[in-house]
């Protein structure tokens, strides 16, 4: 019998309120952007904390570094909220 895991479904980073944490699940971006995001630390499986998300750029903390992302970019990073 399979256990149904009650995990929260993944959402785009852009909808998470400040203070929330999550695990990156997927980067739905083109090759160049995905590569850049990953090199800067946003890889699937990593924990990310949202620092700012009102109007303007979204600021997240990942691997000890703060990154400012355009809204469009943030909406391509899919995160499972913790």
């Amino acid at each position: 019998m399979e256990l149904i895991r009650m995990e929260r479904p993944p959402v785009p980073l852009s909808v998470l309120p400040p203070g929330s944490r999550g695990i990156v699940v997927a980067l739905r971006a083109g090759r160049g952007l995905a590569r850049r995001l990953m090199e800067m630390g946003l890889t699937p499986g990593v924990e990310v904390t949202v620092l700012r998300n009102s109007v303007g750029p979204i600021v997240v903390s990942v691997r000890g570094v703060s990154l400012a992302l355009g809204r469009g970019v943030a909406s391509k990073v899919f995160v499972r909220p913790l």
């Binding site: 980067l27 090759r31 160049g32 952007l33 995905a34 590569r35 850049r36 995001l37 990953m38 090199e39 800067m40 630390g41 890889t43 699937p44 499986g45 990593v46 620092l51 700012r52 009102s54 109007v55 303007g56 750029p57 600021v59 990942v62 691997r63 000890g64 570094v65 703060s66 990154l67 400012a68 992302l69 355009g70 469009g72 970019v73």
Partner: protein
Amino acid sequence: MPVVALAANPNVGKSTLFNALTGESAHVANWPGVTVAVNQGRVTHHGLEIVVVDLPGAYSISAGSAQAAEAVTGQFILEHSPDALVVLVDATAMERTMYMVVEALELTGRVVVAVNMMDVAERRAIHLDLDGLSSALGVPFVGISALKGWGLGVLLDRVVDVLEGRAGRRGPIRIDYGPLEPYILEISRILSRIGGLGRYPLRWLAVKVLQRDEGVLSLIGEADPTALSEVRRVISRAERDLRAPPEELVIESRYRFIERVLAGKIRTTRLVSVRLSSKLDEVALHPIVGPVFSLLLLLLSFTAVFAVNAGSPVDLILSSLGFEEAAVIISEYNLAGLVGSAFDYLTSIVSSALESAGLPAWLSSLTSEGVIGGLGLVFSFLPLVFTVFFLLGVLQDSGLMARVAISADGLFRRLGVSGRAVFPAVLGFGCSVPAVLATRAMDSDEERVTTALAVPLIPCQARMVVALALASSFSDSPSVQAAFLLALYGIQVLLYLVSIRVMRRMVVGPFPPPPMVMELPPYHVPSARVAWWYARTNAIHFLKKAGTILFAVNVGFWLLTHLGPGGYVEDPSGSVGALLGSALTPLTGLVGLGDWRVALTLVAGFMAREAVLTTLASISGAVDPTAAVSVLGLSPAQVASLAVLSMAYTPCAATISVMLQEVRLLGAVGKQVVYQLVLSFLMAAAAYWILSAFAG
């Protein structure tokens, strides 16, 4: 002499370390096979002299012949096999900054890891087991604070250990890429058949291939196009079989490796809240307050810089407020003015000395106006260049630059560049020379070149002076004058914005700009020392590169205006330059300026835009430009045409010099100049013909 290269992510303090090690010996150097000039210097440690090469900050190591920082880092390491490689990481951000270490260790074992910002880590109670990390990876880990000067001696000790073979790994590390391993093997086999890839480690190449690294792929394509298609097929197969892009798997494997290495080696005993930083960012990153705050910050700092260096625009502000004496003091006693006066003085001494020594007039004129005048021109920019870079250094170090760039990003991204273009743009209102130089602070090469080619369109202070003088000749009514100025300025700024798009298209092609992903470094109290190093290096670079070009142009211009058909002429109206002016009259006549004297002032305006006014006055024998206009009988339509032309017909010689220094592609700069020429002629024609029709 052993060569040690410094590599790191941006914002990790590499420049601080480089300057702390090399000090005064830093200069810019070109290495064969490396597409960008790099900073280089010397350090002596226990009697051993070491060459230190500062590679550009990058997030990874690539290959190929691009100019991107990643490629340059790879080019240097692969072509020149430095005797040791120091990779800098941030003690407060080990997880992310270790990525570069891993990429380096996959290439070479002769690495020393310098863990910087140990002072900040200490303040935040972050503790690192550096010996444990050394054991885990087989290379020395040294804790340093480049800013405070901690650990530099120990760092150099370990570097010498690696140089003399007592430390470091015998070979690169080998990361287990799990399911990708069979594909790595297959690609390695294909690559081993290609000649001409000798210096590149096969496994490294194979992994880069799976990362779809453009530099490596084009390298393979050039060596053997068949092999390229073969490896591409392997990549597709890997993607299909593993149901995920191989490039992601590669990066993930590296990060998993880093996590395993770091596990248990970082301890934080107490988290210090970064409340102040957050509070500051609430202002700085706010969508409305942020841009206002940023704009104020920029205007204030740049006005201060320009006031000290050139007097403007503070002197104009003061005189319009009624403080005439203060205005005069500022416009006389500013750095550029002082340097200029010093050189004028020198010129007069030298020329009278030469004349009384009995030397011919042409030699005395060449020496004083050509040579000394040229030196004076170059050095008159020096204080401005220095202070601008100092300011940029402070903004960068404090973290404010990233916030200002983010505020401005909304405006600039639509045009194709990042918000960092706001710095050159604001500077451009003072002077195009530091504006073009300030593009160094931009992220990518394409953005740098695009911005450097567009920013000369912004009307600088010299052009403002010309515009003001011509406005008073255009009309007596102050409101018409104001409208005239506003129209001139407004069109120029619009032109600048459009030109960003045009230049980007020319440089990059019809590709949309990349979306914003910018690292937000924590706020720091900026260090004057760091800003000083930054300013000093760039000022010296300016003197050597752009300064030489400008000096040569100045001498060339002297020849143009002092050589006539019969030899030396004292009065430029008999020179080849004047003949050139006359030859141009059919062209300038198209915009209503068919008088050879006006054409000559345009030629003169190439060196410095204010020369338009002085030449206008001197050539017509009038006492000032306004009188000159009546002497020459120029109608308001013609004045308007001249004004429009003066704004943008060509970048001044100094601007072209720095454009050549920063852009380096003669073709691109040439196209930009032609672009400005054609555009301004079209607009001048429009102004002339429309206004003539109105005037009846």
